[in-house]
């Protein structure tokens, strides 16, 4: 418990430093000025998203290889947190685009690809919701997660090839080559900070899933012994049989 509290406090401090750096230490960008500072968290949340989905991919493979439920728990946690980071990226993107370009959305390669990813992994969550048997749920969603993860590079590649044929305004006006050294350092700090937050949330979601599995096993145990799970009374049929 103490360790957990210490880690949370540390991460909170990290976020504070990163935020301060993004808002005040980083130099003002030449054309976009203050609004460009969204970039630090926009890029950081997409980086966190890819990490979360990678965790989900590895966990899915591990589940199919070992059959241990804890990997399935890690898989669903990775996807859920990844979708959340993706949502953040998809919201901060338009919030950046609107004042800079005057439009909320543009079908440029990166945004389109990320939107597709969002849909793809939401489909994973829907799939899990619609399959009832827990073992089937785990193995089928692991297979789907692997297919979806394999699709990620294909989605980005296809959109990039396509968009270079039909040029569009590019949102990411400040990243990549030619980044001012202070900006790079602030970016790294923000990447690290958001990644830590993502890992923290991921671990918590993982714990929740493990607890849920434990509760389900207990419920199953109770039902199979003939106890009424809601008030602990033996069912009448069993009492008669014992007599």
């Amino acid at each position: 418990m103490k360790a957990r509290f210490a880690i949370t406090a540390l991460v909170a401090l990290l976020i504070f430093c990163a935020g301060y750096a993004a808002l005040f230490i980083a130099p003002d960008e030449a054309t976009m000025h203050a609004i460009q500072r969204i970039f630090y968290f926009h890029v950081a949340s997409w980086n966190a998203m890819f990490c979360a989905f990678f965790v989900a991919f590895c966990a899915s493979v591990a589940y199919l290889v070992t059959g241990k439920r804890k990997w399935d728990a890690l898989g669903v946690s990775g996807v859920e947190v990844g979708v959340m980071c993706c949502t953040i990226g998809l919201i901060t993107g338009p919030l950046w685009a609107r004042p800079v370009w005057g439009i909320w959305w543009t079908w440029d390669a990166k945004l389109t690809s990320t939107f597709i990813l969002w849909l793809l992994f939401i489909a994973y969550l829907l799939l899990r919701g619609l399959v009832e048997d827990p073992e089937k749920k785990a193995s089928l969603s692991a297979v789907f997660a692997i297919f979806a993860s394999l699709d990620i590079p294909l989605v980005y590649l296809a959109n990039r090839l396509w968009r270079t044929q039909h040029p569009q305004p590019v949102i990411a006006g400040g990243e990549g080559s030619g980044l001012d050294p202070t900006m790079s350092k602030v970016l790294l700090l923000c990447l690290f900070a958001v990644l830590c937050v993502m890992i923290l949330v991921l671990v918590d979601r993982y714990r929740l899933e493990l607890l849920r599995n434990e509760a389900a096993e207990l419920r199953y145990e109770i039902e199979s012994r003939g106890l009424d799970a809601s008030n602990g009374q033996e069912t009448p049929a069993l009492q008669k049989g014992a007599q």
Partner: protein
């Protein structure tokens, strides 16, 4: 700062999403822990 509202909203969105999610997960963890305790007691009664 120009366009401050957008920057502020974006900042709020980032942390609000994480924060709300974390709170909901923490709450569900507490609920599930209680349920596990209850179920364990039922098993012990048997």
């Amino acid at each position: 700062m120009k366009n401050f509202e957008f920057l502020f909203t974006a900042w709020m969105v980032v942390w609000a999403v994480f924060f709300v999610y974390e709170i909901s997960v923490a709450r569900r963890i507490a609920q599930t822990r209680e349920e596990i305790e209850r179920l364990k007691q039922q098993l012990q009664q048997r």
